[in-house]
Amino acid sequence: MLHKGPTVYRRIVFPTAALEARARWKAVNGKAGKTMLRVRVYYLDDQRVREYPPALFRYSSDPLNALLFSRQAAIEEAMQEAIEATDAYLIWLALALQDESALLFDGMTHFFKFDPCLPFATSMLYGAERLGEWAFLLQVGCALAESEIYRHFAEDARKRVKELGAFLQDWAYRPGERVAEVVVFKDADRQFAIKDAREVVRVLP
């Protein structure tokens, strides 16, 4: 029996704050499981952390089905679920940062089945409920990214926000990685720069 899958982390590190999205698949009973997304904001200046209410990504029994083959296959399947949840968050965050409201709305309403053509109002309400939880986490991410960029890169801030959105859209799909980070920083010429954390040369004091 597999109770929990590995947690997948995606972080965006800004000069004075960091946004962390983490997801994990968890068995609900013997026959199904669900993947939840959690978002945390680390305020680096005053060493504070704030965690927001979790949001349900989806129910899935794939990891349990994979147990028929091997435990390793089940773990990989659970990790895949978690990766898909963080991918979805980053892709939607990227769309939000680029102000692609219509694409964001279409994507989210389709995924969560918040659809006026549904035959039952209850299905629509449940869709709206889950979509609302995600929209709140996206709002948190979006607000943090915008405020950090406006604070540290005030010149052309709007353009920088869109640049970050475009970067995230390419970067979001990270097959098989448990932990991945993007760093937004001032480079040697004190200009706005975004890089994958692995590409940043750390200068030791």
Partner: protein, 211 residues
Amino acid sequence: MRVKERKVVRMDKLTLVVEGVWATTWKDGMERGEETRVRAIVHWAGEKAWSVSCITDEGTLSPYASGELARQYGSAMADRHARQFLRWLGLCFKDDACSLFNSLDSAYLFNPEYRQRPSAIDTCWRLARVGVIASTLAIVFNQLRAAVCKSFVFEAQNYKRYAPLGIFAIVGECLRNFANAGGKELDLAAAFVELAEQRLKEVSADGVSVR
């Protein structure tokens, strides 16, 4: 300042109180804003009452901020939101997802298609608000639906009589009529029977269902 408007719906063993609460909000020792909240109190006979609530509207303080005028304004806002909530509940019973979606959209403008250049952060905020309202609505809807299912309506002979009319659609219509009329208290069972009997008469008069 805090003003409440209550609407009571009774169905068999369930008493549902939908309460619109308008209140001013304080910051730094000053009245700076206002918020309207809808609170649904669910009380099953013989059990402890419990409630769910959600903020349906908030903003900067209106210019009528003090005195009797503010009380009237607050009362109108609270009443309006409580009635709106009952109307949405009615649409849930009628399974009219399309009208519910459109009504929520016209209240919270979350669909970016019909607005000029909405920012994504604003769209997210609006969707988050609709999510909270949908969650409250779903909880209250399930309770009231359970009450209808446990009531006399679902007894064999009544069910046989009323089922062709669409029981939940009639309940939805009763709630909508109550919300539109702006009454304080609704005996849902009596309203249901009245409306259903009226429908049955209309059907038997021309032999065609009017649903």
